[in-house]
């Protein structure tokens, strides 16, 4: 039996040759761009960000003011109907997206930055610094975060989205600090760091120029997870009524929809839009995280090819046992 040519095998496995422009991108970008899940998630996020950024151009109504009669059905006047208080749902959705996405991203980013600073310093400086910092990391991991946030928010009273974001950042940095610390410990003993030390470079320069670039995937992964957590936790806090009821976010929209008994009175258009927006954003971020996971861990990336390879071998009546 003739061995099949490479082109035949590629065609049968469904592998396409890579486009030339891909080769010009850096390695990690090639992996991300060719990852279908990651690009899909990124596309959804981009749509949301664009809608939020262009909100005033898209809808003529002020999300904070009455724009019509209460509970107007969706139609030409009001694309997604109006709330119980007669505010335009669509403009609230866009404005809410602004607030929720900003809070989520900022909380995620600050938590990651705190975690990065604490994790790297603990691991790189070692000794007493490490002991003290690790103690605080462990305490922040052990203390139950969401109930603590709820207690804090309750004492703050009517927390604005900014305050909620701040509280979320202050309580959510533990995990990234721990992963970053472990990662730095592993990198610290590598030759290139030793070489930089022998060349007499300053500690901060080594941290920023040598260690940091080598764990960007962990930082990005941690950031995505922290953002998911931030968006969900903000929505949850506002849904149970701990946020400021006057601000417009996806969480407060759900809160008001529940207060107005939107589902029971048939006003589905008051509750579905923020609900779907939160779910879609969460799903999109999960997709991006899948992609980041697959880039960091080649074993996971390989699973995408396992199915086609198994089918390929079966068609050729070979054993697929060791795939």
């Amino acid at each position: 039996m003739d061995a099949p040519s490479q082109r035949e095998v590629m065609a049968e496995l469904g592998v396409k040759p890579r486009a030339r422009w891909l080769g010009r991108l850096p390695g990690w970008a090639q992996l991300f761009v060719t990852n279908r899940k990651g690009m899909f998630g990124l596309a959804i996020l981009a749509v949301f960000v664009l809608l939020a950024a262009l909100a005033p151009l898209i809808t003529p109504y002020d999300p904070y003011r009455r724009a019509g009669k209460p509970h107007v059905q969706p139609g030409v006047e009001h694309f997604l109907g109006t709330t119980r208080q007669g505010k335009d749902n669509f403009s609230q959705l866009l404005e809410g997206g602004r607030a929720s996405l900003t809070v989520g991203f900022v909380a995620g980013l600050s938590a990651t930055l705190i975690g990065l600073a604490v994790g790297i310093s603990a691991a790189y400086f070692g000794g007493k610094t490490d002991e003290v910092l690790t103690f605080f990391v462990n305490v922040s991991l052990v203390l139950p975060a969401l109930p603590l946030i709820i207690v804090l928010a309750s004492f703050i009273e009517e927390a604005s989205p900014t305050v909620i974001g701040l509280v979320l950042a202050l309580t959510g940095w533990g995990w990234s600090a721990r992963t970053i610390r472990t990662q730095t410990l592993a990198l610290k003993t590598r030759e290139f760091v030793l070489a930089a030390e022998l060349m007499g470079e300053s500690k901060w320069r080594i941290i920023v120029m040598e260690i940091l670039p080598n764990m960007s995937s962990f930082v990005v992964g941690g950031f995505v997870l922290a953002t998911i957590y931030g968006i969900l936790a903000e929505a949850a806090l506002e849904f149970i009524g701990l946020g400021s009821p006057n601000s417009v976010t996806w969480g407060t929209m759900l809160y008001w929809a529940m207060r107005a008994q939107a589902l029971q009175t048939g006003a589905w258009y008051e509750i579905w839009p923020p609900a779907i927006a939160i779910m879609l954003t969460g799903a999109a971020l999960v997709m991006v995280n899948f992609a980041v996971d697959e880039i960091t861990n080649p074993q996971l990336a390989a699973t995408r090819r396992v199915g086609p390879i198994r089918r390929f071998l079966k068609r050729r009546k070979r054993s697929a046992d060791f795939v």
Binding site: V139, L143, P144, V151, F290
Partner: protein, 327 residues
């Protein structure tokens, strides 16, 4: 043993930090609980009565005196007096609702662990296959749905649209709870929707964790050896790979059981379930500070104990840790 002792020391320190935070937060915020009561009863109290109220709530004397008294009270299991239901001690409501939460969230945690692990094993074994490519992303996405939406939708669909399940509460209203068939069925029937809404948003994490750990193990030499020996797929999957991959999952199960007492705020609110989450929220709205603080202490204790339990489990399950000197 030294490892466990060191962990024990750490947990005591962490408990201390938590208690101190718990003590400081209400005192750093404007308007202490005692002042709030005094404002509510303005003009109706005499000087000595005001002092007595302050004393009851532990807002008497210098900050240090208050701190010592606070710790002393906690050490004796005294969670103080409820600010809202005045002479009632906080602990009675606390332990009543803790029971329901333990049942509700505990059941949900165990079920979602079971479902997640089973699906994780299957999708790792047939990685890249139909089940894996379809269900792994879907389950993990479900995990990123907010419980608010899921609970509301379930509630609306199954209690309003098709009135299959009861509207809320833990059991029928005109039922005196006791250990008989009627109570058990009523409680179980009322728990279906709340448990389901927690399970839906939580089993994806177990699925993904189990799948990823297992995939990393599937390429190890011992699996290839087992295949070469001609062992059945089922035996390799369950006894060889899944057994090793489940260790980290079991320790995180121990951890999440510690969080059970955190309650499921949203689920309990939507289904009007008499658990800790709902009563904590009520307490927050009514400014019943002693209840909020007591709940946090209870939760911290249970999380710390669960952490300790997971350390012990780790030492039992993983022989490598038993001889390890440093962690």
């Amino acid at each position: 043993m030294a490892f466990l002792l060191r962990r024990l020391g750490f947990y005591f320190a962490a408990l201390f930090v938590a208690l101190t935070l718990n003590f400081l937060i209400p005192r750093l915020m404007p308007g202490d609980p005692a002042t709030r009561i005094l404002l509510a009863l303005r003009g109706k109290l005499k000087e000595d009565q005001i002092e007595a109220v302050r004393k009851t709530y532990g807002f008497h004397g210098s900050l240090w005196d208050q701190y010592v008294e606070y710790l002393w009270r906690l050490a004796h299991g005294d969670f103080g007096v409820s600010t809202v239901n005045f002479p009632e001690p906080t602990s009675s409501l606390l332990f009543y609702s803790a029971g329901w939460t333990l049942f509700l969230v505990g059941t949900a945690t165990v079920i979602s662990f079971g479902i997640g692990i089973a699906m994780g094993i299957w999708s790792a074994w047939r990685r890249g296959g139909f089940f894996d490519t379809v269900f792994t992303p879907i389950n993990v996405m479900l995990n990123a749905f907010t419980p608010a939406v899921v609970a509301l939708l379930l509630w609306y669909a199954f209690t309003m649209e098709w009135a299959i399940f009861p509207l809320g509460r833990a059991h029928d209203m005109n039922l005196t709870p006791g250990f008989d068939w009627e109570t058990v069925t009523s409680v179980a029937w009322h728990a279906v929707l709340p448990v389901a809404s927690i399970v839906i948003v939580s089993f994806g994490a177990w699925h993904l964790g189990m799948r990823n750990t297992m995939i990393n193990l599937l390429n190890e030499d011992f699996v290839i050896l087992a295949k070469a020996k001609g062992l059945s797929d089922r035996r390799i999957r369950n006894r060889y790979v899944a057994r090793n991959a489940i260790l980290p999952q079991i320790t995180s199960l121990a951890l999440s059981i510690g969080y059970v007492l955190g309650g499921a705020f949203i689920t309990e609110v939507v289904f009007n379930y008499p658990g800790l989450g709902k009563f904590t929220l009520n307490a927050i709205q009514a400014r019943d500070y002693s209840f909020i603080q007591a709940q946090l202490v209870l939760l911290t204790l249970s999380v710390l104990i669960a952490n300790l339990a997971s350390d012990v489990l780790n030492v039992i399950l993983d022989p490598r840790l038993r001889s390890q000197r440093s962690v």
